[in-house]
């Protein structure tokens, strides 16, 4: 370590090296005295000090811009890299320019031409080019990482001008622009990645070796650059001095990984953090009376549901019985469990997405209809079913066990006995994805901000509907109709007509499908209102670090 490094570290604490060293050594033995000399707490006006964010470690495993796909990555992807197009603020239906300044979609919806912004520069000051974009997208596809399917259906990506890229799809994808806003589809500096073992070749999944280097270095054109990632501890971002847009409002951001929401709360209240990202419902509601803390809610685009196999329980082979479950649940009462960590949902498409069924058209409790359904289904005295849930899981921040217990208690009122089977999340997921569960409490989290990430999955024959719940178009006329509506919506470019189809399909799934959609989930963020005036929220990347306004 150089003397400069040490000096910088000490200066960053706001005290001289000699003072810090002497006092720290002496007082480490006597922590009570040490507190008196602690550096200024973060709650004081930032005044050039770092912004401190606390969030769960979650599943952040890599910072490779062409391979990272975890929810915790998106806030960093947005800060470090540019995407071809993006979303402004929390508006999910307004596609905005980013690396591409303008774009044009052909009438048949198969060809997208993007004019790239010539002002975009990487953090080393070099100009971003169409070749960087081609490299990044091809590497993303060929690494075959967990998000690589996002570009399924892309027939070709090619340069169509000096600063222009043409993307041709093999089939219509009405959410293609929405997909491109995902901070997994980043534009990174090709030359730097190649110099460190990266490749966009077809065999990249076995030959690319740039990942470890990209975990320690960023090569993007976002408002920040990566300073340091200490796994499990913290990640430090610095302002990108060569950013081509409006410079980031803070010189540096420290993201500390704190898994326990109680500790996140404590750090927020103590002023050691400005933003706490993962507040649980009870903790967030308890912060209501704190003068210096404001709680923000953002839809997590991850509805929780209760679903069942159409085949595994004899009673549930009769679809008439399904109504008993749907109408037997006290949806309004669930609000007492999820508190601010959730809200009503219309169906499986989160209400804040285009094409969603409005929240007020969601499922409602009706015990008379539930009992009538039991009679109609030949089970007037009720029946018994087995349902799994993740004992170590939660629906965004709402603990899965209490949701499962609440629903089981609701259904017991009409004679349906739900034997709850707590499982580790990994085991539950394995069995559910394998179509082995009789019934399951689960949620569906967002991959991108489009209805096609939800509706086709739950439709008859979809990834969830067919394989996991054994519900197929051939099962009934209604199932066939839903499948047809979804297919038609996927081919309809006019938004009004498209959304009419998706809403009709969701209504029919609510009515005829083997699911009860319980609630949409929310993130709840605690923010020091004495330091931060406004936070530009977004369901995908929590908030835009570069768009924060300070007091």
């Amino acid at each position: 370590m150089t003397e400069d490094d040490k000096t910088n570290r000490l200066l960053s604490r706001g005290i001289s090296r000699r003072t810090f060293t002497a006092s720290a050594i002496a007082l480490a033995v006597f922590p009570p005295l040490l507190s008196m000399t602690r550096a200024a707490r973060a709650a004081e006006p930032l005044g050039g000090k770092p912004l401190v964010v606390v969030m769960k470690t979650g599943s952040l495993r890599t910072l490779d811009p062409n391979n990272a796909y975890e929810a915790e990555w998106f806030i960093f992807g947005k800060a470090l890299y540019s995407q071809l197009v993006t979303l402004r603020g929390s508006a999910l239906d307004a596609i905005a320019a980013d690396y591409a300044s303008t774009w044009d979609v052909s009438d048949d919806g198969l060809t997208y031409v993007f004019d790239l912004n010539p002002k975009v520069k990487f953090s080393d000051g070099s100009t971003a080019t169409a070749d960087d974009l081609l490299f990044s997208f091809n590497r993303f596809i060929n690494l075959k990482g967990p998000g690589s399917w996002l570009l399924d259906g892309v027939k070709s990506i090619e340069k169509s001008g000096p600063n222009q890229v043409k993307v041709t799809l093999g089939e219509i994808n009405v959410d293609f622009l929405q997909i491109l806003t995902t901070p997994s589809l980043n534009v990174a500096q090709a030359s730097a990645i190649k110099a460190h073992g990266g490749t966009d070749a077809k065999d990249a999944s076995t030959t690319d070796t740039a990942g470890p280097w990209l975990d320690a270095n960023s090569v993007g054109s976002g408002p920040f650059i990566l300073d340091r990632w200490t796994r499990g501890s913290e990640l430090v971002l610095k302002r990108n001095p060569n950013f081509w847009g409006v410079p980031a409002p803070v010189e540096s951001v420290i993201v500390k990984f704190v898994d326990d929401p109680n500790i996140q709360r404590s750090m927020l209240l103590a002023g050691d953090a400005h933003i706490a990202v993962n507040l649980s419902p009870d903790i967030a509601s308890g912060l209501g009376g704190e003068a210096k803390v404001k709680v923000y809610q953002i839809p997590a685009l991850a509805p929780a549901y209760f679903g069942w196999s159409t085949q595994k329980n004899p009673a549930l082979r009769n679809p008439k019985i399904w109504d008993a479950i749907k109408y037997g649940i006290d949806y309004a009462g669930l609000a007492d469990i999820y508190l601010g960590g959730g809200g009503p949902t219309g169906s499986m498409v989160p209400p804040s997405l285009g094409g969603a069924l409005p929240a007020d058209q969601g499922m409602k409790e009706d015990l008379d209809r539930a009992k009538a359904a039991l009679v109609a289904g030949g089970q007037p005295d009720g029946f018994t079913m087995n349902a799994s849930f993740a004992s170590d899981g939660s629906y965004t921040t709402v603990p899965a066990p209490i949701v499962a217990q609440k629903v089981a208690a609701d259904l017991s009122r009409i004679g349906i006995t739900v034997n709850l089977n707590p499982q580790l999340f990994s085991q539950m997921l394995t069995e559910y994805r394998g179509g082995q569960q009789e019934a399951v409490f689960h949620w569906w989290s967002s991959d991108y901000v489009g209805w096609t990430d939800y509706l086709p999955i739950f439709a008859p024959g979809g990834a969830a509907g067919g394989k996991r719940h054994q519900w197929n178009p051939t099962d009934s006329a209604e199932a066939q109709k839903i499948a047809d509506l979804v297919s038609k919506a996927k081919q309809t470019l006019a938004l009004d007509a498209q959304y009419a189809l998706t809403r009709e399909a969701q209504s029919l799934i609510n009515e005829f499908g083997p699911y009860a959609f319980l609630f949409e989930t929310n993130y709840q963020l605690g923010v020091r209102s004495d330091a931060i005036a406004s936070l530009p929220l977004n369901p995908v990347w929590y908030f835009d670090l570069a768009g924060i306004e300070f007091t």
């Binding site: 040490k6 480490a28 690589s148 430090v236 540096s252 404590s266």
Partner: protein, 339 residues
């Protein structure tokens, strides 16, 4: 003694092979698909993505082949790649293990410094108020849930009194020292950065005390019991009758003869501290092997689980070996037997 040590180290080989076999069998018998537990919902429905994962981690091979491949790589020092982090398990362990070793070491030092005097004095004043107090406090120490204690301690000492930091190994934004051992205190000393060493100690104080509560209770109780067994023996009376002063009798005759069971318990306690600090690490945001192990287990990350198991097993074995060697250093009869 060298022969003894060599023989014990040699025994480590079949022990570790047995551990790999048992761990492999147990992890593979759990009805969980590590790929399904790792990748997203949509990715799981894409066979080409799933195939890449299965091929990369050899999950498409028969189980015996997977096991033999693992053993072959292990001989070369390759623990395999973590399915969850996608990094070599050895690299993950190198990142996380030092944090736990540092925490556990400070915790065991605190335990020894507190529990030895407490145990000795409690035995010396058996039946008195001090003994009663020690027995009560140590009973609480061994029976109190660590996670609860950790939350209470943070609430009091960090949140309300601001005496200690709440999270992590260093203050926010303070860069770790250049890695040599991974122990920030040691690496800080090597780098000549005493401010950083102080900061690391400051961050160690509360989690180490919390982690030490259980072992303080245990070691104190064993020390007390062991001392009681020795204090009534004839050789102490002889020493006193020859004019030896009480403190000398207590330290040089009683403690030396009572220490062997205490050392055994210290070794076991240190092993437990290394392996069982999940909750402490989670609550204190300590990036140690406990959190890593929990994450690995909950994601069915087989290579990581096996790597952690092996490291913990090796740690236990080495600590036990150290305990046995300590016996020899303290007791000439054992030293003679080893020779």
């Amino acid at each position: 003694m060298w022969t003894f040590t060599f023989r014990r180290l040699l025994l480590l080989i079949p022990t570790l092979i047995g551990i790999t076999l048992i761990t492999f069998a147990v992890t593979r018998s759990i009805p969980t698909d590590p790929v399904a537990a790792t990748i997203g919902e949509q990715a799981a429905e894409h066979p080409e993505i799933v195939a890449v994962y299965r091929a990369k981690w050899g999950l498409d091979e028969p189980l015996p082949v997977q096991y033999l491949t693992y053993l072959r790589n292990l001989v070369r020092g390759d623990f395999g790649d973590s399915i969850y982090t996608h990094r070599p398990v050895a690299a993950d362990l190198a990142d996380y293990l030092p944090a736990t070793i540092e925490l556990a070491t400070v915790a065991i030092i605190i335990s020894i410094l507190i529990s030895l005097p407490l145990g000795v004095l409690a035995a010396r004043f058996r039946g008195g108020p001090f003994d009663g107090l020690v027995r009560t406090v140590t009973t609480i120490g061994v029976s109190m849930p660590i996670f609860w204690l950790a939350l209470v301690a943070i609430n009091i000492f960090y949140f309300h009194l601001h005496l200690v930091p709440g999270q992590g190994r260093l203050d926010s934004g303070l860069a770790p020292p250049p890695t040599v051992t991974g122990l920030y205190t040691i690496d800080g000393l090597i780098a000549g950065d005493f401010g950083l060493v102080a900061n690391a100690l400051y961050h160690l104080a509360l989690p180490a005390f919390v982690l030490a509560t259980w072992s303080i209770g245990l070691i104190t109780r064993v020390t007390r019991a062991s001392m009681l067994a020795v204090l009534g023996q004839d050789f102490l009376r002889t020493a006193r009758s020859k004019g030896a002063r009480e403190p000398y009798v207590l330290v040089h005759h009683a403690v030396e003869n009572a220490i062997l069971p205490v050392i055994t318990v210290m070794g076991l306690a240190f092993g437990d501290l290394l392996a069982g600090s999940v909750m402490t690490e989670t609550i204190f945001g300590w990036p140690g092997i406990g959190r890593y192990a929990y994450s690995a287990a909950s994601h069915a990350d087989f290579p990581a689980v096996m790597g952690v198991t092996l490291v913990v097993a090796i740690s236990y074995t080495i600590v036990n070996l150290a305990v046995d060697l300590a016996y020899a250093l303290i007791d000439p009869r054992i030293r003679a037997a080893m020779s």
